[in-house]
């Protein structure tokens, strides 16, 4: 079970109030975690990754265990603490705009 913390606007879109918990099939990577997230919350499709290229949207960042995973490959294995559910995967909106 993987815990994901969404930025507030995406929590509103997904109609959730706190952390999201996901079951990920196979190796737990950024890609498989986001696939599982979008399968459970399809209204988030296109808001985190581009519909076509599947690239991370530029103003979103991925963090876990105090590490910036934003620029890692989609198949980057998530840290053991995230896979074990001890630490969350954080999706963070860049501080920009007004």
């Amino acid at each position: 079970m993987i815990r994901v913390i969404l930025p507030p606007h995406l929590r509103t879109l997904a109609r959730v109030s706190g952390e999201v918990e996901l079951e990920v099939e196979g190796p737990a990577t950024l890609r498989s975690a986001l696939d599982a997230l979008e399968a459970s919350y399809p209204m988030l499709r296109g808001t985190i990754r581009d519909h076509v290229t599947q690239q991370r949207r530029p103003y979103l960042r991925f963090f876990a265990c105090s590490e910036d995973l934003s620029h890692e490959h989609a198949d980057f294995p998530l840290p053991d603490a995230v896979v074990a559910g001890d630490e969350p995967l954080l999706l963070v909106g860049a501080i920009a705009g007004g």
Binding site: P8, L13, E38, P42, R45, L60, G93
Partner: protein
């Protein structure tokens, strides 16, 4: 008694303003989608309870929202609450957010390029939906004008969207370029008498018309003169800010161009200037009285470099002669120290007996006139910057 519902899109959410036919007391609902940019909200003429909203964000991209109960509740059409999250093919739903240019060999066009700010060629990139235009007859059919400029259509209530690729594929794309707000398709007019005829306008490409339901398009910019482009009378490249018409005369069009207020009496085949005695002919909005096809409204803005009303005075100008002769309407509007702008989709009219006129400002005011512009009252004063205003006249 009839009622009106004003649909307001702002930089930080949507607001619905409701009143009875007297239009004196207003109920304010919102913010809906708080914190998001709401470029446009519009109701279906065929079912007034069906509303569509364009919800967008630099962080999270484009979302389409729909209401089937007049704005009380909203949902993303691809993922209605309570329904399975996967489709029959096992894939997650969520298509209602998906705007992808059609590059298929069968129905689409190659991913063409347009001119960028620096003059180089730049590929089309989807950014947001500027304008939603529901069908006159079918609540589930709606057109979307997007940035980078293209036209999309949904025939399933906003669940899935398909590009009408003939417009982007017209061939003049390399001469289209973005204005300050981006290269946006912001105006969509469906001819109520001829479903095959649609007008659209793009900043900065100009106006286009289809007579075959969207398969093929041609520019309709003859008569426009734009001194800020290399060939002032070019076929395309004009920064058209907005176009309006009266439903009883769909061949007569009124245009607020970057500079110049223009008129066409032949469905856009040719245009002539009707700026007349306006204090400045730069502006964004233009609209037509609901019952007087020759009565039109604009709000002059000082200049392309100073996007606020001139002399600190908020004045709507009305022409009862289809242009050229304009009168300032000031009663109830601030006449000193006012420096707001009125954006291109931020004016609308209702169809009550005494025509109501509404507009929103970048200062967050929404003004209403229940006497065709003779006098004005703010419905609300302190919303976020207003991006769009639409009105529904309800039974």
């Amino acid at each position: 008694m009839s009622k009106v519902r004003v649909l307001v899109g702002t930089r930080k959410g949507a607001f619905l303003l409701s009143s009875d036919g007297k239009r004196e007391k207003w109920e304010v609902s919102g913010p809906h989608f708080a914190g998001w940019e709401i470029y446009h909200v519009k109701g279906s003429p065929a079912d007034p309870n069906r509303l569509y909203a364009s919800q967008t964000s630099g962080w999270f991209g484009q979302v389409i929202q729909r209401s089937d109960d007049g704005g009380k509740t909203w949902f993303q059409p691809g993922t209605p609450p309570g329904e399975p999250t996967k489709g029959p093919d096992g894939m997650p739903k969520g298509e209602s957010n998906k705007f992808v240019y059609d590059t298929s060999a069968e129905t689409g066009k190659p991913l063409t390029t347009h001119q960028f700010y620096d003059g180089t060629q730049h590929p089309w990139e989807f950014k947001r939906v500027w304008h939603l235009e529901p069908s006159h007859s079918d609540p589930d059919t709606v057109l979307a004008g997007v940035e980078d400029a293209a036209l999309f259509r949904s025939t399933d209530g906003g669940v899935s969207w398909h590009e009408l690729a003939g417009l982007r594929g017209h061939g003049s794309g390399p001469r289209w370029h973005p204005g300050a707000g981006g290269m946006c398709l912001h105006t969509i007019i469906q001819d109520p008498k001829n479903p095959n005829r649609i007008y659209i306008a793009i900043s900065a490409a100009g106006a286009f018309r289809t007579d075959d339901g969207g398969k093929t398009w041609r520019p309709i910019n003859r008569g426009l003169k734009s001194q800020y482009i290399p060939d002032p009378e070019a076929e395309v490249g004009h920064c058209v800010h907005h176009v309006a018409f009266h439903p009883s005369r769909p061949d007569v069009l009124f245009m607020q161009k970057h500079w110049d207020v223009m008129r066409s009496d032949n469905a856009g085949d040719s245009w002539h200037e009707v700026s007349g005695n306006l204090p400045t002919d730069f502006g964004f909005v233009i609209d037509v009285h609901a019952h007087e096809p020759e009565t039109i409204y604009v709000v002059p803005i000082k200049s392309d470099g100073e996007h606020f009303v001139p002399d600190g005075k908020l004045r709507v100008f009305r022409s009862r002669t289809g242009g050229n002769e304009w009168e300032p309407l000031t009663k109830g509007l601030p006449q000193s120290n006012c420096y707001v702008n009125i954006l291109r989709d931020a004016m609308a009219v209702d169809s009550l007996d005494s025509c109501g006129v509404y507009f929103g400002t970048t200062g967050g005011q929404v003004y209403a006139s229940s006497d065709a512009g003779d006098s004005w009252t703010p419905i609300v004063r302190d919303l976020p910057a207003v991006l769009s205003v639409e009105v529904q006249t309800l039974p």
